[in-house]
Amino acid sequence: MTVAPSFRVLRCASCHVHFLPRPGLCPKCGSRSVRPELISPAGRVLAATELHGPPAEGAAPHRIALVELSGGVRVLAVAPGRLPALGETVEVAAVGDHVELRSEPETSG
């Protein structure tokens, strides 16, 4: 199953590298010529952790995952639902100022 491109990144017109939207220049070659592009939100979990302590206040631990998307773009994503397994395929989405893992799709009847 292919996933429709929905995750917004920047692509450098000079060296063609994809990177996360941010102010400034291409992190690889320093070019100013960058444009937005949508890529697949599917990626593989490289590492994930459950943080017991700050910034989690209260009972629920804060979870974050390091995800590699197709094309080699890596994102640090909040994992609101559960701790994903290493190597697991997940989908990411931008939510406000950060990125989150999407909750699993509802199983249709």
Partner: protein, 376 residues
Amino acid sequence: MAAVAVGRVGKRPEGLVDLLAEVGESALEAIGRKPIDLLVVGTMAAGPLAAVESVVPASAERLGLDPALGWRVEAASASGAAAFQAAAFELLAGRAERALVLAGEKMTGHTTAEVTRILARSLHPSEQAAGATMPALASLVAQRYLDRYGADPASFDAVTVQFRQSARGNPNAQFPTPVSREEVVRSRMVAAPLHLLHCAAISDGAAAVVLERGDGPAAVLGLGQGFDAFALVDRTELASFRATRLAAQRAYEMARITRKEVDFAELHDAFAPFALIDLEDVGICGGGEAGRWFLDGSTAPEGKFPVNPSGGILGRGHPVGASGLLAIAEVARQLRGEAGPLALPDRPAVGLAHSIGGLASHNFVTLLGALAGREP
């Protein structure tokens, strides 16, 4: 290096300037109060943590100094190493004859949550937005290390056990009590695979050194700094720190020595797995091999390459802005034969001090030893 002073690390009632003045006073006393023309102070977050700024004139006033030059230097958790290197470069450039380098941090008196938040300001904004903290990112690095090399997680425990054992002989250490592997594993989980005893504590403390032009057993042989992408996600390598590899390479080049001539090191172990990564990054062993070195005792004080005979950050404590200078001071004390109960069985000739800034975005390597007798 003309004098070295290390203050007691732990929970201290004094303020930051008091801590800096205490070690500064000891160092000045040791050189008979000869004039200082350069004062460099390293601290990471004096304002947010200690409610004080302008630490250079404040320290100068307290110590009765009238320097010609003075800088405050910040490089996150490597501020103390950065301050030392800045002073050394000024001396090498001939702009000063004698420098006092102070580094300190006052961290207690806040909740752990507040301190964690302040330290996380040295991370990339996107990482802060995701709620990442130092331990969170360190745990991701640790997982990549374990995954990449199939490393034994028990090697992380061995790091803590060794450093806590060494800290027993350190009168300035915050944690002079040894711990067993079981205690490390049973300590509460902070961010898997990191338990509490794999992580640096919150500490107050300071160190001071006086640098003069000339030779001695702890002369500056090499100074190196290196950078990596600010954000972890932008780094090519996640199980090794490029910033350390570059800093080490540059320090070795300046010193015109190879890693084989280094006798021991004080490495930045804010998280136990970093000690493994550091040992590999400074070239003492190959990628994925450091765990075995810690497990078989090669890095113990009597081993073939002693690491952190002072107890390191895990044993000594981690007043963040001071830690880089504490590492340099502990290396110098070994070389100068002033390490007292911490003295290595064989007095070393060349030592390496390593310091990590932020989450290894800007790191430092300092090589100390005698200049005399070296190949020109």
